[in-house]
């Protein structure tokens, strides 16, 4: 788009517009109504429905406003008799094949066609044509139904599939009157629901909820998605205290109306029959429902007993990064003030900490100011760590794709497997996890050689000479050999970075969750600093996308053994999650309070089992009787995200609100109230009034939240973002020596998706049932290697690591590094955590989810 402004007149009003805007865009910006059907603001206009025709003085034929760009001085009329006739005819032609289905149609009441027909007052149409009836069919995904007869051929679904998600699962099939939307590649469909949400009529409908309700029977409640850290804004459609659908507003949040599979279809767990709604105490191996007072006073008494007998260090707490900021803040207050220990952790910290430490080392800052919007302004994008598509960070991946086709950005992907982004990448480095640092140093080596080509002067930055020295040995030849690619590829990637005006980095776990994990991120951040991706102004940027909705909030609220709220260092270091179970096994920790976490599924299993077995007292707070909760002594039922008021902090630092959409089952209370009551039974007062009041407390305790509001009028981010980011920048020191692979374990395994999939449930307890229905977890391995052990696609294999084994189906792929394995989890498998070892990265206190030594056997 140009910066030039032009002046145009629409319906007698003189307006200013940017050159390059379409007439429709200008009209909409200025509140002038032009009917449309095939236009969608997120998609390229195709001008097919002809409802948006306008007359331009001097042009003899009417033009479609959605495709015509403004020109200086044009005079446009949007409502004339002639236009009305054209629109009326266009609409009648659309209605030729349209069934009189409204009473039975899901869209009725929110249907764009229905609204237009009403607006134009059509009660009959005189044209005739026959088209073969299509009835109702399953669409590219079983989660969506297609009603071909209701389709108006606006092609919005196909364009969303091709432009936003770029899966090419659907396309136009047939010609002329018989043309319809067909499924051309069902395997490519990722059930993202993008097509469903752009369809203006009832031709595509969801099939998660059996119950349906018209808009006048239901309410929409704006809230924040509780699955991943992108924090998409969504609206729950609530009918009789039941969520029956999810939509997303176009103008809020990082998602701009898009949602992923989990956000749009993953809500049925809210009404799961196995949900537990009463507190329980276990006696003689049997759960018994008890009144709240009894459960809470028993908990308090047991914790008190341990504190009296063994000191506060014998108590530990784990809180889920899907709890609200308010709950996490109160929980850490409970652990620190009431119990008196720093033994508190969250799996959110396990995902954020490596990144935080790397950024801390380089910028002296704890977080970065970038938003996902900044990605689109990047012209060379480096993606490292997890496969954003496989891990369901689709919204972030779609941003990158948008940058690719809208601005022609270059894409460099570092991942052992050729995922969807790698397929579209200019340079795909099939490197072993843990070799990111080597790659980064190789790039730095070439960038420094070509000093002239790129922008900011970096010689003055502390550590520059050391970096130069360190990068010396990473010549293209050395890097190519280490990574196992050609030297040309290394040079080409460096060339893209050198030519880039505004590079951007998008990283995600399991990057950093392996041996020397922090170093990998530090090395990438060094490169980002050198090539100018780290800016004060918020362009390009260095992004960290995580799997849990409140990953950032969990750490910022102080659910970390070393950090108090607002990243203030704790006076004494507590135990991290894994260490707590180690200590429990040694009988140093006697009581654990676990809120929403399921460590048996996400932390090294043998260690957790040993720890849990040795505990004197375990209290679990959850919606379901999870694997871990089953071994607890006291179970406290928890609220779902739809029943909670509170805030989440997403990966960009947006502080976003959760609104209570459902009335919780009788007696259930939010976490804050539970912690306060346990505290009062323990003899300490924690005054908890409401989430809003707790948020006020957070604002006072955490300087980064000063100025934010519980109920803001506009989207808000916690402050401290932006400003002089680079003032104290220094290049970090990176260790690159690699631990030798273990004998007999020829592969490096990375476990992806473990933190997001345990929420969907596992084979024995499917929580989000429809997601579980389409979820496919598999082991990706090189096709040749698979052939060597005699397995084909879909066959079951046994993965063996020094710590345990599990069985899973295999998916052979040509585009997979030979010595690597990727365990891609969409539905959790209770055995995955058996594969993990107890070693922690000494800096981040994170166990290894990447670079696990492994071998594969045929079952």
């Amino acid at each position: 788009m140009g910066d030039e402004t032009v002046r145009i007149t629409i319906d007698g009003t003189e307006l200013q517009a940017e050159a390059g805007q379409t007439i429709l865009e200008v009209a909409r910006e200025n509140g002038i109504y032009v009917p449309t059907l095939c236009y969608h603001p997120r998609l390229l206009p195709i001008g097919s429905c002809r409802l948006c025709v306008v007359e331009i003085e001097g042009a003899d034929r009417p033009m479609t406003a959605c495709t015509t760009q403004v020109q200086d001085g044009i005079v446009v009329h949007t409502h004339t008799d002639r236009l009305h006739r054209i629109r009326l005819d266009a609409l009648k032609l659309i209605l030729v094949n349209h069934p009189l289905d409204c009473p039975q149609c899901d869209a009725a009441g929110v249907c764009e066609l229905q609204n237009l027909v009403f607006e134009f007052g059509i009660d009959q149409q005189e044209y005739q044509a026959t088209k073969s009836a299509q009835g109702m069919k399953e669409f590219a995904t079983p989660l969506i139904r297609q009603w071909g007869d209701r389709c108006v051929m606006c092609l919005r679904c196909i364009r969303a599939d091709h432009e936003i998600v770029r899966t090419h699962a659907i396309d136009v099939v047939g010609t002329g009157n018989e043309a319809h939307v067909g499924i051309t590649n069902p395997d490519a469909c990722i059930s993202c629901g993008e097509c469903l949400r752009v369809c203006p009529v009832g031709a595509l409908t969801e099939r998660v909820s059996r119950t349906k309700a018209r808009p006048w029977q239901s309410q929409k409640v704006l809230t924040t998605c509780h699955y991943c850290s992108l924090g998409c804004q969504l609206e729950l459609t609530v009918f009789e205290n039941k969520v029956i659908g999810v939509t997303a507003p176009e103008d809020r949040g990082a998602n701009r109306g898009s949602l992923c599979q989990r956000g749009i279809f993953g809500y049925d767990f809210l009404h799961h029959p196995q949900r537990i709604t009463a507190p329980m105490i276990k006696g003689a191996g049997q759960w018994k429902e008890v009144p709240w007072e009894e459960a809470l006073s028993h908990t308090a008494a047991m914790v008190n007993k341990v504190v009296m007998g063994n000191g506060p260090e014998a108590v530990g707490g784990l809180i889920s990064p899907r709890s609200t900021n308010e709950e996490i803040y109160l929980f850490q207050r409970f652990m620190r003030e009431v119990v008196g220990t720093n033994n508190i952790d969250s799996t959110g910290r396990l995902c954020l900490e490596p990144h935080r430490l790397a950024i801390q080392e380089i910028l002296g800052n704890n977080y970065l100011p970038y938003t996902l919007d900044d990605i689109i302004r990047g012209d060379c994008i480096v993606v490292a760590g997890g496969d954003l598509d496989a891990n369901n960070n689709i919204i972030a991946a779609n941003r990158i794709r948008e940058a690719l086709w809208r601005t022609g950005a270059r894409l460099i992907v570092l991942h052992p497997r050729q995922g969807r982004l790698a397929e579209e990448a200019d340079c795909w480095f099939s490197l072993r996890p843990g070799a990111e640092a080597i790659w980064a140093l190789g790039m730095i080596n070439l960038l420094l050689k070509d000093k002239e080509g790129w922008g900011p002067s970096v010689d003055g930055i502390k550590g520059f000479n050391e970096l130069k020295e360190a990068a010396k040995e990473f010549t293209p030849a050395a890097v190519a050999k280490e990574i196992g690619c050609s030297q040309e590829l290394v040079r080409e990637a460096a060339g893209h970075l050198i030519n880039a005006k505004q590079p951007a980095f998008v990283c995600s776990p399991p990057l950093g969750q392996g041996p020397n994990g922090v170093d990998q991120i530090t090395a990438l951040a060094n490169l980002a600093l050198l090539c100018g991706a780290l800016t004060d102004t918020g362009e390009g940027g260095f992004h960290w996308v995580g799997p849990q909705s409140n990953m950032v909030g969990a750490v910022e609220m102080g659910a970390a053994p070393t950090l108090l709220p607002g990243y203030a260092p704790a006076s004494e270091r507590g135990l991290s999650s894994v260490e707590m179970f180690q200590a429990a096994a040694k009988r140093k920790i006697k009581a654990l309070f676990i809120v929403g976490e399921d460590p048996l599924l996400t932390l090294p299993r043998s260690l957790v089992e040993e720890g849990l077995a040795a505990l004197e007292f375990l209290v679990a707070q959850d919606m379901f009787l999870s694997e871990t909760a089953e071994r607890a002594h006291v179970f406290l039922p928890a609220l779902s995200f739809a029943e909670l008021d509170g805030t989440f902090t997403n990966c960009e630092g947006r502080v976003q609100r959760l609104h209570r959409a459902l009335k919780p089952p009788e007696g259930l209370r939010w976490g804050g109230e539970i912690f306060a009551e346990v505290a009062s039974y323990m003899g300490s007062e924690m005054t908890v009034v409401s989430p809003a009041a707790v948020f006020e407390e957070i604002i006072n305790a955490n300087p980064f939240y000063k100025g934010t509001m519980f109920d803001p009028h506009a989207p808000q981010r916690r402050n401290g973002s932006g400003g002089e980011l680079l003032k104290e920048a220094a290049f970090g020191v990176v260790k690159t020596e690699q631990e030798q692979g273990k004998k007999d374990y020829p592969f490096y395994l990375s476990i992806e998706g473990i933190f997001s999939s345990h929420l969907i449930g596992h084979d024995h307890q499917r929580r989000a049932q429809v997601l579980a229905h389409v979820a496919r977890s598999y082991l990706a391995m090189n096709a040749e290697e698979a052939a060597k052990i005699g397995v084909a696609d879909g066959d079951r294999v046994r993965i063996v690591t020094p710590w345990g084994e599990m069985e899973i189906g295999v998916k052979g792929s040509e585009g997979m590094r030979k010595d690597c394995l990727c365990l891609s989890l969409a539905l959790c498998n209770v055995d995955v955590s058996r594969l993990m070892g107890p070693q922690l990265d000494p800096r981040s206190l994170v166990p290894a989810y990447g670079r696990v030594p492994a071998k594969v056997e045929k079952v």
Partner: protein
């Protein structure tokens, strides 16, 4: 003496006049009573005998045919007394899992019948609908189907 006699006569005549006037008034008042007394009565011996209502009478609702759960009656109902839980079957067909009309709140306006695109809900000619509990006055799907008049 003469004066007192004359006064007596005057009173006598006045008394007669008043008597005639009040008897006349009484008879006038009884005229309606007498005419009605000898005509046929308008009341009927309910419940032995029942009143015929006009064909356009709006009485208790019934389902004439299957409701497709479109929700239009819910939208139009001015007293908001219709509760509909629409459910989509596996074949995509919609049907009302729950359909209730709270006749205590209903004002018998007949708008629901007018809005129904498939002529499912109708207001019948039955007006006999009493119970000791309000709950019993909520019509559900089964009762609405059972309410359908025989001749239909």
């Amino acid at each position: 003496m003469v004066i007192s006699l004359l006064t007596g006569i005057w009173w006598f005549i006045r008394g007669i006049g008043l008597l005639v006037a009040s008897v006349f008034a009484l008879l006038k008042g009884l005229r309606l009573t007498f005419t009605k007394f000898f005509s046929r009565p308008v009341t009927i011996q309910y419940p032995e005998k029942k009143r015929e209502v006009s064909p356009r009478w709006r009485g208790i609702h019934y389902f004439e045919r299957d409701c497709v759960a479109c929700g239009l009656c819910v939208a139009i109902c001015p007293s908001q007394c219709i509760r509909l839980v629409a459910v989509e079957q596996d074949d995509g067909e919609r049907y009302p899992e729950t359909y209730e009309i709270n006749t205590v709140r209903c004002i018998y306006c007949g708008m629901c019948a007018e809005a129904c695109p498939v002529n499912a809900i109708k207001l019948g000619r039955n007006y006999e609908f009493v119970d000791y509990q309000r709950e019993a006055l909520v019509l559900d799907k089964e009762r609405l189907l059972a309410n359908a008049p025989e001749e239909v």
